[in-house]
């Protein structure tokens, strides 16, 4: 693991109403790595993402990004610092065109080179480029997820948080999305991902994190987690070793 973490989460506590879900989670994400968080349902994976990204006020603990404390900062402030988030499920504006959806990635900022950035992304992802003028609703599920990721890249982030990118996608599309995430790493963008599809996700990751009952039970190289028979039985459906 790199010496200095890009993202450092320390003893983060968060929840909804009377329920505390995250009970002191600590983890680190190094620059230029793909890190996957796995864990059973209710372990607090999505809550972790929301608390880091300022969508849910933390009740305790700290979040540091690139050496700066960002605990509880608003999404807009985090976007400005190079942290972006692709939530679970469908997050597009179905009636707007692919291009307009893409442009909304920078909605909160006045970018002088917006058109050039959008054109570059449309060229980088030809499946979107070919459909730039169409309504986003005509895209397949996988293409929509791709558009969400492309939209997140508009601000040229340093860290991409992505919650269950493969949810509802075909195995083929999942592989494509994962290939895009690893390509991001090769461009120097760090990825912190939550995945139910743990085996495939850990397969492309540098680091794995096991979250259990609101705490980090284990942070280790992804290969080690994949090889660990206990983890296999617990979270990966067994039969791994």
């Amino acid at each position: 693991m790199a010496a200095e973490a890009l993202l450092a989460v320390e003893d983060l506590v968060a929840g909804y109403g009377p329920v505390t879900i995250l009970r002191g989670a600590s983890l680190e994400v190094a620059a230029g790595t793909v890190t996957t968080v796995i864990g059973p349902n209710g372990a607090g994976k999505s809550t972790l993402m929301k608390a880091v990204f300022g969508l849910l006020p933390p009740r305790g603990g700290r979040v540091r990004f690139a050496g700066e404390e960002i605990t509880g900062r608003s999404p807009r402030e985090l976007l400005a610092r190079g942290l972006v988030f692709v939530p679970q499920g469908r997050n597009l504006f179905p009636e707007l065109s692919v291009r307009h959806n893409l442009e909304l990635g920078a909605a909160a900022f006045a970018l002088s080179d917006l058109d050039a950035r959008v054109d570059a992304l449309l060229a980088r992802f030809p499946v979107l480029g070919e459909r730039a003028g169409m309504q986003a609703s005509v895209l397949s599920g996988g293409e929509q997820k791709l558009l969400e990721i492309a939209r997140a890249l508009l601000l040229e982030p340093r860290l991409l948080l992505v919650d269950e990118p493969s949810l509802g996608l075909s195995p083929k599309m999942t592989r494509e999305i994962f290939a895009i995430l690893t390509a991001l790493r090769d461009r120097g963008v760090a990825v912190l991902m939550i995945e139910q599809n743990a085996k495939s996700a850990l397969g492309i990751s540098d680091v794995g994190i096991v979250l259990d009952q609101g705490r980090v039970a284990l942070q280790a190289p992804a290969g080690e987690i994949l090889a660990d028979p206990r983890i296999g039985r617990l979270f990966l459906g067994g039969g791994l070793a």
């Binding site: 976007l79 939530p87 504006f93």
Partner: protein, 292 residues
């Protein structure tokens, strides 16, 4: 033929005014889940702001209209949102609905109490007169109303679809959670929606009052018809509500001329029932899913 053209133009002219109010309905519903049952009174009130400016303060009409707009933005936009909608919306849609009914009564009774219970003549923006075209006698007033309201609607649509601010407002309306993730200041966008609605009702008020005179209870019919227009067109689509406004205006006019002027509201209600039965999300609206 000439008669049909005449009725069509007059219908489109009143329809354009309904469209302004109906678009406001749709805007508030989309961004703030607010069904504003005081929308009719919102259209009634700015005319009295103008009259107060000209009669009480002796202002020229242009300045009085400007004053009315500022007052409407403050009272029907900012104050309405801060004092009524913000505190009540967390309790659900129904408390807001009931509160807006109360606001409507308050506005109506206040105008009656503090200004007048009588219908007030309201200055027209254009001189009266007629235009003869293809055997039809067209009212210049209708043409002016249609032009002004049409341009305002066009400008609003361009603003919402072509400008960055407009698209942020649309994004907030369509999916506030995602808008927040994209860093859009959603609360400010919701406030802008209320201000936009206040501007729309001010324009509607200034356009309709020369025709129907300014009266404290004008809002009852106006609000009902604009509400019908929004539902017929599609409550969750601004362009649907606008189209609904025009349609209702035309149906109302033809119904009154060819069927019965006594039952003109009844005809609109039949249209409403038919749409709800056959196409519940409105003619141009989209089916809405709600996740809790």
């Amino acid at each position: 033929m000439g008669n049909v053209l005449q009725l069509l133009l007059a219908g489109l002219a009143t329809g354009a005014i309904y469209a302004l109010a109906a678009a406001g309905f749709a805007l508030l519903w989309q961004t703030a889940r607010t069904i504003n049952f005081a929308q009719g009174e919102f259209v009634m009130l700015p005319a009295f702001f103008v009259l107060a400016g000209t009669e009480w303060l002796g202002l020229p009409l242009g300045l009085a209209i400007l004053l009315a707009l500022v007052l409407a933005l403050l009272v029907l936009g900012l104050l309405f949102k801060r004092a009524i909608v913000d505190p009540l919306l967390p309790q659900g849609v129904l408390p807001v609905v009931i509160a807006t009914i109360a606001v409507g009564i308050l506005l109506k009774e206040s105008v009656k109490e503090f200004y007048s219970a009588e219908a007030q003549p309201f200055p027209s923006l254009v001189a009266g007169g007629t235009l003869h075209l293809a055997g039809a006698v067209l009212s210049l007033q209708d043409i002016a109303v249609l032009l002004v309201a049409g341009l305002a609607i066009l400008a609003m649509q361009l603003f919402l679809t072509r400008t960055r601010l407009g698209r942020m407002m649309q994004a907030t309306a369509q999916n506030p959670e995602v808008a927040l993730v994209l860093g859009i200041p959603t609360r400010r966008m919701v406030l802008y929606t209320f201000l936009l609605n206040a501007a729309l009702v001010t324009l509607a008020s200034i356009l309709i009052s020369p025709v129907y005179l300014a009266k404290f209870d004008n809002g009852e019919t106006l609000g009902l018809i604009a509400f019908i227009a929004a539902i017929v067109g599609g409550f969750n689509q601004i362009r649907g509500a606008i189209a609904g406004g025009f349609l209702v205006g035309v149906v109302d006019n033809f119904g009154a001329a060819y069927l019965s002027s006594d039952y003109r509201t009844g005809i609109l209600l039949l249209l409403l029932i038919a749409v709800i039965l056959l196409r519940p999300h409105g003619l141009w609206g989209r089916a809405e899913e709600r996740t809790v």
